[in-house]
């Protein structure tokens, strides 16, 4: 009977967007709180990281594509870390005009940052690949994330489409009148297009604000009391996840790993 109930709960199981958001947020907090050089603890967090991928079920190629694109950012930012921290000297490169020094402390911070950021990017890529943008925004609203921030996010999301449309129109207009396609010519036209997009987006923002004002907007975004219940399976997954992470944190703090 109990197994039947469990089967029923998990039938057609799909994690609620709110649960996904809370899970990712908690995971990021736990990852960020690992002290530098604690590689064993970081390895331990690989388990919940894989669990997130399994439960979120992102489409594999989309997940991989997003992960690879986003992971370039932390890599490019942290590449300077080995050279910019004081500590015991590991290597030094004597260039003609200055000396580059790599310190042990710098390397530790570099590796910790890389592992933390890769783990974070993995879960974020799993989140955005498995959940629609609108679902994420809806989830943020439902978990009572500050409404102004949610509204800014969804206005930005909406602007992306509008700017894309304006950009397409602009590119068509350029293509229809550019007969000599040299790089300098095209680049100059694209610079004009970028400027034009800026002005158009300013105009659009003004009009949207006016339309909001005309409908009684005074700065507060009011949401209809949308109290959709989270499905029980999602709640079970969330509880299990929090318990596991708390357990890992205890192991880490008690230095049992």
């Amino acid at each position: 009977m109990a197994s039947k109930n469990i089967k029923h709960i998990f039938k057609g199981f799909r994690l609620d967007s709110r649960v996904k958001l809370i899970t990712v947020f908690i995971f990021l907090v736990f990852i960020a709180s690992v002290s530098k050089g604690d590689y064993r603890a970081l390895c331990l967090y690989l388990i919940p990281c894989f669990a997130i991928i399994i439960f979120f079920r992102p489409p594999f190629y989309l997940f991989l594509k997003r992960f690879l694109i986003v992971s370039l950012f932390p890599l490019s930012v942290s590449v300077f870390l080995p050279f910019t921290n004081s500590g015991e000297l590991l290597y030094s490169f004597n260039l003609f005009f200055f000396t580059l020094k790599i310190t042990e402390n710098g390397m530790t911070i570099f590796f910790t940052t890389i592992i933390k950021s890769i783990l974070s990017v993995v879960v974020l890529a799993a989140l955005v690949s498995s959940t629609g943008e609108l679902e994420i925004i809806g989830g943020l609203r439902k978990i009572r994330f500050p409404s102004v921030l949610v509204s800014i996010i969804f206005l930005m999301y909406r602007y992306l489409f509008l700017i894309r449309d304006e950009a397409r129109t602009g590119i068509l207009a350029i293509n229809s009148r550019v007969f000599h396609k040299s790089y300098s010519n095209i680049n100059r036209q694209l610079a004009f297009l970028a400027g034009n997009l800026f002005i158009k987006s300013h105009d659009r923002a003004e009009n949207i604000y006016k339309s909001m004002e005309s409908r009684g907007f005074t700065g507060d975004f009011n949401n209809p009391a949308d109290e959709n219940k989270i499905n029980p399976a999602s709640l079970i997954v969330l509880s299990l996840f929090i318990t596991t992470l708390a357990g890992f944190k205890c192991l880490e703090l008690l230095r049992l790993v």
Partner: protein
Amino acid sequence: MQSQASIEIENLRYRYLSSKRLNGADIVYREVLRGIDLRVFPGEKVSVIGPNGAGKSTLLLNIAGLLDEKYRSGSIFISGIELNHRNIYSIREKIGFVFQDPNDQLFSTSVFDDVAFGLLNFLKKKRDSRAKDINYIRHKVSEALSKVNLFGLEDEVPYFLSFGEKKLAALATVLSYDPEILVLDEPSSNLDPKNREDFIKLLKNMDNTIVIATHDLDLAYEFSERTVILNRGNLVFDGCTESVLCNRKFLENNDLRVPLSLKKNL
């Protein structure tokens, strides 16, 4: 005795800041409305027509209290209440402003959110307990969408609607809070003939006071018995639509042309 006017405008002047030197010495203004007097009575349908730059949209934005008060002189009364910065929010509830481009009006992630936006704002402002009653909100949203024949599209993303549907959804965003006055800027622009016809029919069947600004003289002819003509910020005509639209000389003097639907009769 005539009833109280829904919209009463007395000697309205409006100017835009045209250019300003850095030291502030030379401030140049461009006057776009020059002493407009207008009264619109409850339930009346009025078309505001005129050539480009005549001041039609500025007049409408002023009626809705959406332009900076410091560049305005004269007075505007909405249902007997003078429009000023102190009572602007209570007056806005009486007016539903529909923008020319529905993309300006629809900014949310679902049609439901957009249609509920104004209603929720006004209910919350009045501390009305119905703001928390999701069933009431759903009912009002469905009702507004039914009026514009978009029932069932609550969960759609506004961006992905057709242009005609966007126009209708933009109208529904103001119908949800039952404004006394509807103000529409170029309601027929970019609509195909069928959608245009449906839209006009819809507006004509409404009991609200409706003011539209349009270039489309055929629309004015079909929509309202009363027309106001603006030219270079001046109100040059206020009266019967049919009589003015048949007056070729007057129209041409004001940079307008006889509408196609009347041309064959002249």
